[in-house]
């Protein structure tokens, strides 16, 4: 069988390039949108995902990491009592007001007081050992590199949080979150900034189990809390990360607005793709009519359209994937919160590819209502 679809695509590539670009553009649009949503709302759970803990214990009903309340100071002991738990660690969360040495206005910051001993669980994915060690210095702080300008400081610079002096000892990448600037300090520094006593309970207790698979069992065992340890709830790391992300996505105005925008982008991408494909099929109307007049069945013509749409979709997706990779790399280099994973990329490709094929078929049905006898003159 002569590969009419492929040969036509190659020989008349100029005719098909607009459709290929349209598919590629739609793919880029969808991927960029998805990457921004994942990046922006993924950063709501940076505290969980950048850490090596399997379990998080916090105040019952906490909607997101940044809404934590103090829990009992013995909760870490309760977790440690579970035979599946290997190690526990306190996490102190403080809402602060940052004032730089340059005297610019205040910036809302989220202070995370973490363990400074080697092997700490919190932010283990972001901190080098020397950086964690540097937090031992009283008032030492670590911030995200992209936030240095917002905070009006540089590495080595000084500032005040809630009138307590701090010194920036390092800057890392990937610490940016939602709602405020993240600052890492030691637990002691965080308590001083909060004006809390040393005996006050932490905001969270995190734990690592001997085997990651045991986290769900421990969570089930401690789901109802424990009498005598004060109110607390336990979530697996994955649960708590998702909980935080869903809160920001579904329960805030910003999240709903972003979801609405995602819907609009999907609609635009779908319309652009479908109209381009329909244009290509309509432009080949005479060829299809000739084939039908020669006796080629409509079913075979449908297969031809699918093949052509498949080629256009495939080339468009290739173009879109390349452009998306370049764009996301650029965004990442400039500290724009973007993130992508395999399932999301596959979903974007499936949506664009599916719309391409479907549009070709819909256009085909319209063409087949036309009369091949119109070829005569």
């Amino acid at each position: 069988m002569i590969a009419l679809a492929r040969k036509t695509l190659i020989h008349e590539w100029r005719r098909f390039m607009p459709a290929v670009f349209a598919v590629g553009f739609s793919c880029l649009l969808l991927v960029a949108q998805a990457a921004l949503v994942l990046g922006i709302f993924g950063s709501a759970a940076v505290y969980v995902r950048a850490s090596g803990a399997d379990l998080w214990a916090g105040y019952p009903g906490t909607q997101s990491v940044n809404f934590g309340r103090a829990i009992g100071r013995d909760v870490d002991l309760r977790l440690a009592m579970d035979p599946a738990v290997a190690v526990t660690e306190d996490y102190v969360w403080v809402d602060g007001d940052w004032r730089s040495a340059q005297g610019s206005g205040g910036v809302s910051v989220y202070v995370s007081g973490i363990r400074t001993a080697p092997g700490g669980l919190l932010f283990s994915g972001l901190l080098a050992p020397w950086q964690r060690d540097a937090l031992r210095e009283p008032g030492a702080a670590i911030v995200d590199r992209a936030d240095l300008s917002t905070l009006g400081t540089a590495v080595g610079g000084t500032a005040w949080i809630n009138t307590h002096p701090v010194r920036v000892v390092a800057a890392v990448d990937g610490l940016r979150g939602l709602g405020g600037v993240n600052v890492l300090t030691s637990i002691d520094s965080a308590r001083q900034i909060a004006g809390a006593e040393a005996t006050a309970g932490p905001t969270y207790v995190v734990a690592r189990t001997h085997q990651p698979e045991q986290a769900a069992e421990v969570q089930a065992r401690l789901a109802g809390g424990a009498p005598g340890f004060g109110p607390f709830a336990v979530w697996t790391a994955e649960e708590f990360a998702l909980r935080s992300q869903l809160y920001w996505l579904l329960d805030t105005g910003a999240g709903v607005a972003v979801l609405f925008m995602v819907g609009i982008v999907c609609l635009v991408g779908t319309v652009v793709t479908s109209q381009s494909l329909m244009g290509v099929v309509a432009g080949s109307a005479r060829e299809y009519a000739v084939l039908n007049a020669l006796g080629v069945s409509r079913r075979s013509l449908g297969r031809l359209v699918i093949e052509q749409a498949g080629w256009i979709g495939g080339l468009g997706l290739l173009l879109g994937a390349s452009a998306s990779a370049a764009l996301l790399a650029l965004a990442h280099a400039y500290g724009v919160p973007v993130a992508m994973n395999g399932p999301t990329a596959a979903a974007c490709a499936l949506l664009v590819g599916g719309v391409t094929l479907l549009s070709g078929l819909v256009a085909m049905r319209g063409l087949m209502a036309a009369d091949p006898a119109l070829l005569l003159r």
Partner: protein, 229 residues
């Protein structure tokens, strides 16, 4: 048979009470002024359209009783079509143009190529087998179209103004080929044309006017027939 079209709110009757028999193995020409219904008649007889009423029988089958899929199969197996505008595919070489419908007939690549070469040879275009339509003259394109039509050895060959877009020499070559096909292959060739050269070569000429056959002329060496009522 009858056939009419609706244009806006107006129904235009194109063919009126037509009764016609086309004989096998001869070149029949339908001639007439513009708008007399020649192309519509051709599209009905070639199973591209259905009549509003009446019966069309070809090769022992009632075309009016067939569903669209059966009509497509009939066209694929039994008919060849030559259009005024050639209607070749810009991306395919001459050989591939002729091979294309053979693939849909279910022939394997080897057999398709053999038949395609044979058909191209018959129209004298093997030297142009690997050229695309943009590299061919009008006459050569029409000969490729004829080769495409005859490659599957159809019993019926329909040609719509096959020489009108061609110069004198090319047109004559096309006419000679069509005449030879009718004679040597036993194919029923039905042409619609104004071309007086085709009239000279036709075995039978049907004159149409206002949707009806007005006269039916045969070559002097063929058996004469009064026009059908």
């Amino acid at each position: 048979m009858h056939k009419s079209f609706i244009s806006g709110v107006v129904q235009v009757q194109v063919l009126r009470q037509m009764n016609l028999s086309i004989h096998a193995g001869e070149l029949t020409l339908i001639s007439g002024p513009s708008g007399c219904g020649k192309s519509t008649l051709l599209s009905l007889l070639s199973a591209l359209q259905q009549p509003d009423s009446g019966q069309i029988r070809a090769l022992g089958e009632d075309l009016g009783a067939m569903d669209p899929r059966a009509l497509e199969r009939f066209r694929l197996r039994h008919t060849g079509f030559v259009f005024q505008g050639f209607n070749l595919f810009p991306a395919l070489t001459s050989l591939e143009q002729v091979e294309l419908p053979l693939g849909y007939l279910g022939l394997d690549r080897r057999e398709s190529q053999r038949r395609a070469r044979q058909a191209l040879d018959e129209v004298g275009l093997m030297p142009r087998a690997h050229m695309r339509p943009a590299q061919l003259s009008g006459g050569e394109k029409q000969r490729v179209a004829i080769a495409r039509a005859i490659a599957k050895s159809p019993q019926l060959l329909f040609a719509d103004e096959p020489t009108s877009a061609l110069d004198a020499d090319s047109g004559q070559r096309v006419i000679d080929i069509l005449h030879r096909i009718a004679r040597t292959h036993g194919t029923t060739v039905l042409c619609v044309s104004h071309d007086p050269r085709l009239i000279r070569h036709a075995d039978r000429v049907l004159g149409m006017e206002d949707g009806a056959i007005r006269n039916d002329w045969r070559q002097p060496d063929a058996r004469s027939e009064a026009p059908d009522a």
